[in-house]
Structures are given as C-alpha cells and as structure tokens.
Amino acid sequence: MTDEELWDLLDEVMDPEIPVLSLVDLGVIRKAEFVAGDPVITITPTYSGCPAMKVMEEDIEAVLQGVGFDEYTIKTVLSPAWTTDWITEKGRKALQDYGIAPPEQATSDKGALLGHPKEVTCPNCKSRKTKMLSQFGSTPCKALYQCNDCKEPFDYFKCI
C-alpha cells in the first residue's frame, strides 16, 4: 500500500458525531505515512475537550486492522492548532447537504471587522437572514442558529 492509498483508506473513517464527514475532510488527520513498513497516523483534536477523539482513534484502528495491519502508531499533536480552515471543500459540501451550515470563510463578510456576529447562510432555504440563538450547540464544534425566513433552527459549524 502507498501513502496515497492509506489516505484513501482513512477517508472512509467518518466523524462519529457528523457521520457524513470523513476524518480526512474534517482535517483531523494531519499525516498518514508508512514508517519502516507500518502505518503512522498523526491526528489533532478539533476542540481540547472533544469527547469524540477516543472514538476517532478506535475507528482508525478498526479500519487499519480491517485491512490486516497489526503494527501501527496513532500519534496526537496539538500544534499547529486545528482551525475550521482545515475542513476540505468536499467536507464543506457534505456538511451543507447534511443540514449543517459549514464555517463561513473568513473573507466573506465585513461584519467580523466590527465585531458583529457572522452572517451565516441557512442550509435549508439558503437565506442570509439568520440569527444566532446560542454560541454553543449540540457538540463543542457547533453553534445554534435560526433562519428568520424559513424559521428552521439549524446547526452552524463554528469558525475557530
């Protein structure tokens, strides 16, 4: 197996809390390579207290074992710290289709300069008229929003 095939294999491991997003798309996998013939995977937590990290490690172990690897290493690094910019374009699309608003790109709204809350697009009706209900949502990485047009509440993958 090549390093590239190893990445493809890891792309099958889904985030335990957002099952449409692979760990590769989430940007949790920093490095995947073979060292002396054995896979070495380097991961980074999204949030310090993310309770899903342990599950992610176990899920990675399961796919590695599934294709016959007995010897492997999974390392955790904190630096450089994960930000939402690590989420891939494919990942952003998957979030959107799943009904979670993906993190807004830094340049897309000028409100940030003035300390205003971010403009977030409703994943349901695509309206920009939305409001934040709470900075904290169903998981540490999400905030709770509501659309002023279609009235649907939705999760926003908050930008850090």
Binding site: P45, Y47, S48, G49, L78, S79, A81, F136, G137, P140
Partner: protein, 252 residues
C-alpha cells in the same frame, strides 16, 4: 528550585484550575436556567476538562514517574491540589456562578495569551489550542454579566452581591511563589503582577458597562499554592474521586 520541579508545580496549578472549575460547572448539567444555557455551561465545563487533560498529561511527563492524567486528576490528597480558591467556590445561584466565571475567565484569558508565547513548546501548543476556547468563554461570561447587571432590579442586586462576595478570593489568583519566579525567569509563563492591573482595568470596564460597582479591595484569602483550601474542597474531592477510590485503576 530547579526548573523541572517548578514546571511540574506550575502545570499542576493550571491543570487543577481547569479541572476543579470544570467539575463545578458540570454540576449545572440538567439544572441550567434554560436549555441553551444548560448546553453552553456544560460545553464550557467540557473545554476546561479538555485543557486539564492536556496539562495533566504533560505534568506527568515532566515529573517522569510514569503518572497518567488520571493519577494526577484523581489520586492526590487535598493538600496536593493547587487550584486557585475561586475555582472551588460553590455554584450558588446563577449570578454567583457567572460572577465567579467572569472573574476567572478574564484572568485565564490574559494568562493564556501570554502562555501562547511560552518558551516551552508544549505549554505554547496547549495554550494556542485552549485560547480559542477561552476567548468565547470570556465573551459569554461578559454577556451574562451585562445582562444580569443591566437587567432587572432584582438581577442587578443579586449579581452585585455575587461580585461583592467572591471578590475576597480574587487576590489569590495573583499570588506568586518560588516556582512562579523560576517560570518567569525561564520565559515559560508571565509575571502575574504585570497581569493584575490589566485584569483590574478590564473587570472595572465590564462592571461599569453592566452598571455594577467594582468591589473594594479589602482583606484577601490566599493559600492555594500551598494547598490550603476552603472548606468546600473536601466535598468536591469526595465526589470527584469516588470512582477511583472505590474501584482503584478503573478505566473508562
């Protein structure tokens, strides 16, 4: 004092602050004043526990006696915990919790932006991760201070009293000992005496905006860095340590 011992002490203090305050906040789980706030406060608790895990793990490595994060979090006696006294105070009513949280968040924010520049790479990495979270903890506790202070007559009176009550525990946050001096000299962490006036200015500004008065500096409690705690600490540990004391070595 040698650097290794000073760093171990320093890491434990940071980790204990996060672990004990995180534990106190977790007591609100299912009891928050409204659903969104219940979720918010438990998210904050979770972030703090995350910070403590990274710090305990590193403290164990620095000490070099093979201790894990669990050994350090759960298997010390009261005197060996070095968390600031303010973190172990009872939750009280929601205003009490917010007053305690705001004063601590403001301190923790100013501390961690300095730790991000630490000469110790691991401390800097943990801080760079944590500061992203501490930043919105602070934003939330400021918002609540404003809402309660500049709210109704009753909420104003209650949170003013909460700030007055907790004030005598804030001096303890800035006490420094020999370990701190080594940490400052090595460029690992900031001089708390330099942070104190900035903290005071920020707190004064927030309270003024919230139409609250900054309490007068009177006699201050101290002793956390020597492990001298308030009467509340024993009760916290009896609950926090129950599983490990009852089933030694149990793992999640």
């Amino acid at each position: 004092m040698e650097k290794k011992q000073a760093l171990f002490n320093y890491l434990l203090r940071l980790a204990d602050n996060s672990a004990i305050l995180g534990h106190k906040l977790s007591e609100w789980c299912g009891h928050g004043p409204e659903l969104e706030e219940d979720i918010a406060i438990i998210n904050t608790a979770l972030d703090l526990l995350g910070h403590s895990r990274s710090l305990y793990t590193y403290a164990g490595e620095v000490e070099g006696k093979g201790k894990t994060e669990d050994d350090l979090a759960f298997l010390r006696i009261e005197r060996e915990y070095k968390n600031a006294l303010i973190t172990e105070l009872p939750n009280g009513h929601y205003g009490d919790t917010i007053a305690r949280q705001y004063l601590f968040d403001q301190f923790n924010y100013l501390l961690f932006i300095e730790l991000e520049k630490s000469s110790d790479e691991t401390v800097a990495a943990i801080a760079a991760k944590a500061i992203k979270e501490i930043r919105y903890h602070l934003r939330r506790s400021i918002e609540w201070t404003l809402r309660l202070g500049d709210g109704t007559e009753e909420s104003h009176a209650k949170i003013q009293e909460a700030f007055d009550d907790v004030w005598a525990y804030t001096g303890d946050l800035f006490v420094q000992d020999d370990s701190d001096l080594v940490i400052i000299a090595e460029g690992i962490g900031p001089d708390l005496k330099a942070i104190q006036p900035i903290w005071r200015e920020k707190v004064k500004a927030t309270l003024a905006e919230a139409t609250l008065l900054i309490p007068e500096d009177g006699w201050m409690h101290s002793g956390s860095k020597q492990g001298r705690h308030t009467e509340h600490m024993g009760h916290i540990l009896s609950e926090l340590q129950y599983m490990q004391r009852t089933y030694p070595g149990c793992e999640w």
